[in-house]
Homo-oligomer: 254 residues x 2
């Protein structure tokens, strides 16, 4: 007999941004599966089992969750932010399609959450107010040429661009190259946001221009948002600036 | 003396998807400003004033909210979904920049929410599991040529594509033209999701191929998600299908 599996978005770090549906779903499960630091954000409950794993093992973690559900457990896989954006939901469906035939009988639900991108944008103002793209700079799972092609297209067509996974110790040069590709299409005055550790105690939101942006300042906990040609920095005396992209747009010739 | 202004995302329709921060912020304000159907979703509180307006008047509504805050009120502007994605936050910052100098002294906070895009994706599976774009098909505020250029770029670079505002009575042909542009770059078997009235009582999630997609089925309450070349439909016997985009990608030559 089959149990059920929920893939739950915890939102960014702060508990005030987790939805009631996510909280209720987590409370009702017998087994929690996820990357250890995300599991640590879920309140402890008597009788609930926790299966913590390392960050890199997404597909193995997805299979483990499906095995538990197939054996009759009520399982939640936890993700930070939204589970559907560069996160666990995709891995679970891949494991379902490529794994045991019984996996397809499991009742699966995705519980959305406030994504890192939306939380970062809110802290900076409204940079995603008009057409935008989200691109992961990680080349662990795709050729760098695919990343380059997408950056080029997004920059040329004047999208606001959100960069997930901009840098890590193993990927130190990718963000600098991304900035160079984008700078061929965008003015040096284009607003850039470095959003570090959003909604955590060491949160830092830095607003600057593309000319000032230093790729070395990004790490695994940073999200980058680059404005379109219409995006504006709204400065205020003695207060932090805002970045916003107007709802209207004009045709920009390259 | 200045009051304060919060721009609050209610999430999609269901109250189980509103964050605790949004609920607390709404409860603590003296004045609520917004499009009437969104205001109707906020629980009534004694002593709180409501300022409902029509859908088209975003900038006027933003100015009204700033005027109330400038007069010392504690104001919340409500948006469905996330207030930063094709919604009110951008209008408020524009009104702040172009309006009275005192508007810039107002304490403004954006409270993010689960966007329509994330909620629709969760109901269908994990279509946003990899690089994606969000494009508004409305040409009320931008030339149609800008829309075409962005559709062309997003399709050629193999992004998953989310279409906001796909159709209305005044804009009946835009979605058909968008599908034709995308079909020049994407196979007829590309998965397409029509997400109608997500999390409402008449919610309808339809999964089909690009060849089958009928633009006439979309209206103002529909969100469209088109897969990349890697996006898959996971069919299941006797159960609804899922759509997911794997976390890995390969270079696709046009």
């Amino acid at each position: 007999m089959s149990g059920c599996l929920s893939i739950v978005g915890l939102g960014p770090f702060a508990s005030e941004l987790i939805t009631p549906l996510a909280a209720e779903t987590l409370a009702a499960t017998t087994d929690l599966v996820g990357y250890a630091p995300y599991l640590a954000r879920v309140p402890e409950r008597a009788g609930q089992r926790r299966h913590a794993s390392d960050n890199r093992e997404e597909l193995a973690r997805a299979r483990q969750a499906l095995e538990l559900a197939a054996s009759g457990k009520s399982v939640a896989v936890v993700s930070s932010g939204d589970p559907g954006v560069f996160a666990m939901a995709s891995a679970v469906f891949e494991a379902m399609e490529t794994g045991k035939p019984t996996f397809k009988d499991i009742e699966v639900t995705v519980v959305p959450g406030v994504s890192a991108m939306l939380a970062a944008a809110a802290r900076a103002g409204a940079p995603l107010g008009h057409d935008f793209c989200a691109i992961s700079l990680s080349d662990n799972l795709k050729p760098w040429d695919v990343v380059l092609k997408r950056l080029e297209a997004a920059a040329a067509a004047d999208f606001v661009i959100v960069l997930y996974n901009p840098a890590s110790k193993a990927r130190p040069w990718q963000l600098g190259e991304a900035f160079r590709v984008i700078a061929r299409h965008r003015a040096p005055s284009t607003p850039v946001i470095f959003a570090h550790a959003v909604s955590q105690s060491d949160e830092r939101i830095e607003i600057m221009t593309l000319a000032e942006a230093d790729p070395a300042k990004a790490d695994m906990r940073t999200l980058i948002i680059l404005g379109s040609s219409a995006t504006r920095i709204l400065s205020r005396d003695g207060r932090s600036a805002f970045v916003y992209t107007p709802r209207h747009a004009e045709l920009v010739e390259p």
